[in-house]
Symmetry: C2
Subunit: 192 residues, 2 copies
């Protein structure tokens, strides 16, 4: 791996754990097994390295997509929710830090969450198709249901280790519960 890639990788990890200020160029160099001067020769400044590191990290996360044609809603939504939850849980430190750091570095708002919109759109598309096929009842906002389900999964994934008392249920059960309620709200049982 090139020096550049090594620096980007350790910087992302340090940033997730220690924030912008806590990620010092000395620590980055030491963690990458590289002289501190190399950091500045490669990226020019600490800020440039951090921005690039977060950008690369975010771009590498692939979105979770639902099947093109809805079949068994419960199993498909549950599998999708679990995968989404797992992906968010892996990146929870980075996400939490970005949320806080947004106060002082608003420029990383767009870069950090560009994937969410496409996932929301895909879920709405999926539920819309399901309704068209009669797998869902005619009532209940699909947009609100998508946002509510994704919000619930997102928050559980990034706060699970912080406040265990507030989420005593295992992650799988939590996701399954959210999916069950979403399907009930959209009249999945009634139509089937």
């Amino acid at each position: 791996m090139s020096t550049r890639d090594a620096l980007l990788e350790v910087t992302a990890r340090l940033f997730a754990d220690h924030g912008w200020r806590g990620t010092t160029t000395r620590r980055i160099a030491e963690a990458a097994g590289v002289n501190e001067v190399t950091v500045f020769r490669t990226f020019g400044s600490k800020d440039a390295l951090l921005m690039e590191s977060i950008r690369v990290q975010s771009a590498a996360a692939m979105p979770d997509v639902l099947p093109a044609e809805p079949g068994d809603l419960r199993s498909e939504l549950t599998a999708w929710g679990m995968a989404h939850h797992a992906r968010l849980h892996e990146r929870r430190s980075m996400i939490r830090t970005c949320l806080a750091e947004f106060e002082e570095h608003p420029e990383l708002g767009p870069v950090a969450c560009e994937g969410a919109e496409v996932t929301i759109a895909d879920s709405i598309r999926y539920l819309g198709e399901a309704r068209r096929r009669g797998l869902l009842g005619p009532e209940g906002s699909l947009e609100a249901a998508t946002v509510m389900l994704m919000n619930a999964i997102f928050l559980d994934a990034i706060t699970r280790d912080v406040v265990p008392g507030c989420a005593p249920v295992p992650a799988e059960d939590a996701v399954a519960g959210f999916v069950d309620l979403t399907l009930r709200a959209l009249g999945a049982g009634v139509a089937a």
Copy 2:
């Protein structure tokens, strides 16, 4: 206001905006209109001041409670959701910072979110009473519904200004939508 209280107040604000490292004793003293030495004479150390400041700030937030006896579920839940959303939105900077800072200061995990559990319990109590009175259908987990609703409201409240693209709906509509889906999921319409 005493010097001590002034320090606690500005420290909480600075912490919410700049994090633990970014909240320097110089800034605290300057913002409070006090000499820096007074900070150390009053609290001993920066860490002690920050912990006390966050503790006081969290303890001051009163929980939102639902009516003792459920009447009109939709209006009561919506009013409660709006109030809860507004309260979280006010404290969003502090909450986001605490979530990120938990990595380096795990000790503030319990102190920062002690209020959530009682609110969850109150909501479950309310929905249970509603079901007992036949205002809700017999199916659907009340615990999961409570957590899902609160998660959705919580995340919307603390990320609304960060990722406006992900939540283009006004807060009132978002909360109303979440409440509507929750009631649908628990069979409020059916039973009524």
